[in-house]
Symmetry: C2
Subunit: 405 residues, 2 copies
């Protein structure tokens, strides 16, 4: 029996990696394919080599550290996440999952001889800040996009991902997908407020929300704010406001649903002119595909009502992902592992996208969440208590052992 992972080393590595790739203003900004990304990758690769793992880089730049103990056969159990970041990031998002995966292998190396190989993986360009779409490395590994197509994607600066991976020395020759996971585990900070608010130590993530993004434009009639009586107005701003209130109420009464209007603009945008047009984005999510479709239909009906009231309305789909249901046997294994460590655990839904949703296309997968203070992420204020980080990594270890048994 092994007690657990080396918690002090895990925390030290998170901090060292978090100090790598900072910009001139001291912000952690490790965008995919940049010099900062190379610095992070070099640090990680060094740790993988030092642990005696076989390090492989595939053609999309995903880094694998493989432990093939004597007598182990078959596809590896894969554990991982990503080490690229957003601009002015925190140090936990992604990195925690990769470094915890390494900790799990190192813990097992002390006295276990699992029947299968283990692999820790860091996927390329999960954040999608420089190259769209996000979760690109895992998407390509799962066969969702041809590697040639992915390498030809131009970044926000116009440079292709392929050119940048070659420049920083991480354009590997391994075909993505050649290392096929037997199963996949991803440990991550929640990036939301639920666990902290409920005082629960761990989340066993059983679903990942489906996402529906639309851009809506409502056109009414711009007119003088003083001389146009209320009864003669077709105010696109008020129409949009009514829709915002409706979408919020709809999400509150839809099980598992959320809805957000993050961008809204009025035209012409003068204090004394009735808005002639309102443009806004709609972000609706639900872990259940049928309920997400019901949210979309309710929005479409509300837009149709506006058309009947004389507004001109267009709605354009910006993105659409179906919900992901993770492997129930792995979710159960996570719950059991948490219980054995006397840690409270709740089943939950991930509201954010993760590499696990891509890997779930080709292998049983699930995720473990630890609390995020204040629900804050993608921000230097991102924080999880070291004890909670170590507890999460130990449940990851125990879950991995169950999957290998």
């Amino acid at each position: 029996m092994i007690a657990g992972i080396d918690g002090a080393r895990l925390i030290a590595r998170i901090e060292e990696l978090g100090a790598t790739g900072r910009d001139a203003e001291g912000r952690l900004t490790r965008l995919a394919g940049t010099d900062a990304d190379r610095a992070g990758r070099d640090l990680l690769s060094g740790w993988l080599h030092a642990a005696g793992l076989r390090v492989e880089i595939d053609a999309i730049g995903n880094i694998y550290g493989i432990w093939n103990p004597e007598g182990a056969t078959g596809d590896p159990l894969m554990i991982g996440s990503h080490i690229d970041t957003v601009i002015d990031a925190g140090q936990f998002d992604g990195c925690y999952g990769v470094l915890a995966g390494l900790s799990v292998i190192e813990a097992m190396q002390v006295g276990l001889a699992p029947a299968r190989p283990l692999a820790v993986v860091a996927f390329t360009n999960e954040e999608g800040v420089r190259y769209a779409p996000d979760m690109l490395g895992s998407l390509v590994m799962a066969g969702g996009m041809a590697v040639e197509e992915a390498l030809a994607i131009r970044g926000t600066d116009g440079i292709t991902l392929g050119a940048e991976l070659a420049r920083i020395g991480y354009a590997g020759t391994l075909q993505p997908g050649a290392i096929r996971p037997h199963a996949y585990l991803e440990l991550h900070i929640e990036q939301g407020p639920v666990l902290e608010a409920e005082g629960v130590a761990l989340g066993a993530v059983e679903t990942l929300q489906g996402i529906s993004w639309q851009e809506v434009t409502i056109r009414g009639t711009a007119n003088h704010a003083g001389t146009t009586p209320m009864r003669m107005r077709r105010d696109a701003g008020v129409a949009a406001a009514g829709l915002l209130v409706f979408l919020d109420e709809l999400a509150r009464r839809t099980e598992g649903g959320v809805a957000t209007v993050g961008q809204l603009r009025f035209e012409p945008g003068a204090i004394n002119v009735i808005p002639g047009a309102a443009r806004f984005t709609v972000d609706m999510r639900n872990p259940d595909e049928e309920r997400l479709q019901a949210q979309e239909e309710a929005l479409a009906d509300a837009l149709e009502d506006l058309r009947r009231d004389g507004f001109e309305v267009t709605a354009t789909r910006l993105a659409r992902f179906e919900p992901v249901r993770f492997a129930s046997e792995i979710v159960t294994a996570i719950e059991t592992a948490a219980t054995e460590r006397q840690l409270s655990c709740r089943r939950m839904t991930s509201g954010a996208g993760h590499d696990a949703q891509m890997v779930a296309r080709i292998a049983p997968a699930a995720m473990i969440f630890v609390p995020s203070r204040g629900g804050i992420s993608h921000n230097p204020a991102e924080f999880t208590d070291p004890a909670a980080l170590i507890a999460g990594a130990n449940v990851l270890l125990d879950t991995a052992r169950r999957l290998l048994a």
Copy 2:
């Protein structure tokens, strides 16, 4: 008995003045103190001289054309408006009222010997596009601002109004207010849709709306649109949207009230981030001061409710004008004059600001409105049928005769 004003000449002058001061793209843009303004002033002054009027320019650049018939005594009956325009304007706003005033004097010159002088006036910088505040020339004439202060105002280009008036030759020596109106009449296009929609020929303007402008900021909590459950949100965007709907409903149930939110901005303004702040302008108007105050109090109460719900709310006053009640005897004279010409007429409120509201501080004043096609103004599409323009000028003539009787 004189039949009426010379309609064909009035229309021809409106078109000639409308063709004066166009920019390189052919847009009518006669901002106060510009070369385009000088061209318009020169054209008008020529017509005033040709009509045998004494032309006076005061220190703020207001142009007066005075007809002092033999035996006339006392302060003049003043008729006027302005000839400066917005950028890319129509040709009727302001100019119609000045040129109709000249037409009235010319019509009287044929066979009337009124007991008082008449003056037609073109006030400086009514639109306020280049120099703030608007209605500046009439404000200074009415004693609402010292002329030295007004001349020192810097335009959007940094040049003072005083320097520009001197440059274009319209810095007069007459003290503003030295020519004091016995009464004041202003004929104007409605700039709103009411007369056209109701099929009424003329408006006898009895009030001018009070205006309350505020800027409101609501601060909630920015958070991830996917990972933050509805019950844990403090969405500043939805709070603002609820307020827009409330203000619209409030105005609809408040007699004479209107409310407009013309500018609205969310922060940080990302599709997948719950708005942490919403900033917007509120434009509320009412011809009745008590009801306008009631609208303001209802807004304040609604903001207080948001504070109780945990939002941080600030409201800043941007502008506040009390309603103006025009002289009832002049409004009655307008109605009688319209009836005698068998023209339909309704009492109404002006939703826009006009020079008449400044002059009303020092003399009995009222306004006459003619229909604006589609309610459109401050736009090249601004249009009023020539027959309606001539009918309005004839009612102006008859009203002036009543005031002189």
